[in-house]
């Protein structure tokens, strides 16, 4: 059977949820149109935005950078990028190199910032300390802190991340199963920060399945760092991801229906479960925080104690 759209013989994907069979050209243009449509639908980008892409060099962020480039080329946005070096031996170096190459190719401002430089400890060093929390817990908090701080320093008005449909579905299920209903109220394609110091975060790929992101970068011949974080395998997210992937084999629409179902209950959840609090500044680092100390500074203090033990 040929491409459902143009009739070409070379079919590279059969979308099980829609029955479409597509050739590389129709697949690529379909994905690009879908992402640009979602950007309009969810009001993710305005003309004149300075968009900072959180660019790891992996497939998601490279695809995001590739698609947002079309908006920069049309003079709608300015783009820049940041790469976080967590300090994971044998893993991060390749991604940083690829990210830098893409930024240079596109002629955009690019900064590489590391945990070591800002928090005086790498993720590998953290995980070598006695009884640490899960790696993803530190990494998530430190990474968000660094990305937001760097975005402000670079004058960004939006932070674009490469979260895909699989990531979003996992977040919904994880928070629901763990009873973190307040966290659920904060999920969605764009953030609505309570402090001016938090830059708005957007997720333009939130409705693109992870496998299609992989297919896109391979079909377009984009250079990407394909590798899994050595720490992520132990995470609860990985367990949930496995369950959803297995379910998707027999139920190919399950991720879309999870997202759509969540869209329907999100406003009700927000009304009932959003916490009202005033955002102050962390007394140590000055970043916005609901507590005296932000979580990054709490972790830093905790790690200092572990180091001296």
């Amino acid at each position: 059977m040929n491409c459902t759209k143009c009739g070409k013989k070379e079919v590279m994907i059969e979308k099980k949820h829609s029955g479409q069979r597509l050739c590389p050209e129709c697949f690529i243009s379909g994905i690009e149109q879908k992402v640009l449509k979602d950007i309009r639908k969810y009001d993710l980008i305005e003309k004149g935005d300075r968009v900072m892409v959180a660019l790891s060099g992996g497939k998601d962020s490279v695809m995001l950078l590739d698609i947002l480039t079309s908006l920069q080329d049309r003079g709608i946005i300015d783009m820049m990028a940041v790469t976080i070096d967590e300090g994971i031996h044998g893993y991060r170096k390749d991604g940083v190199k690829i990210a830098a190459e893409h930024a240079q190719r596109l002629g955009i401002e690019h900064r590489v910032v590391s945990f070591k430089e800002y928090f005086n400890i790498s993720l590998d060093e953290i995980m070598a300390l006695p009884s640490p929390r899960g790696a993803c817990t530190y990494c998530g908090v430190f990474r968000r802190w660094l990305i937001n701080r760097t975005a402000r320093e670079m004058g960004a008005t939006k932070i674009a991340t490469g979260h895909n449909l699989d990531d979003e579905t996992q977040s919904i299920m994880m928070n629901y199963l763990e009873g973190n209903i307040e966290n659920l109220t904060r999920l969605g394609p764009r953030s609505h920060p309570k402090s001016d110091k938090f830059i708005v975060k957007i997720k333009p790929l939130g409705e693109i399945p992870e496998r299609e992101v992989g297919l896109y970068v391979v079909a377009k011949g984009l250079k990407v760092h394909f590798d899994g974080c050595p720490y992520s395998r132990e995470s609860f997210r990985a367990e949930i991801g496995e369950i959803i992937k297995n379910l998707s084999k027999k139920h190919p629409t399950i991720m879309y229906s999870t997202l759509r179902g969540f869209d329907k209950i999100k406003n009700a959840l927000k009304k009932e479960h959003s916490r009202n609090f005033t955002m102050e500044n962390c007394i140590k680092c000055g970043e916005p925080s609901a507590q005296e100390l932000c979580r990054a500074c709490v972790f830093c203090q905790e790690l200092e104690k572990k180091k001296t033990r």
Binding site: I13, R21, R211, G228
Partner: protein
Amino acid sequence: MEFTIINNKKTEQLSLKKNLTIKELLDEIEKPLETVVIKKNGHIVLEEEIINEGDTIEVIQIIYGG
């Protein structure tokens, strides 16, 4: 029937008694289809594609755990 497989950047020559589909090959090497992209002679193909004598099959892992 002989063909070349590039998996995890390692290139190997495989010899089989009958022609396999991509899906059968992936089952054989225990790679779930949803985590990989397969190229046959440089073109991305579907799981039902048949591997023929002299083909080069590239298995690109795009999804890792977590």
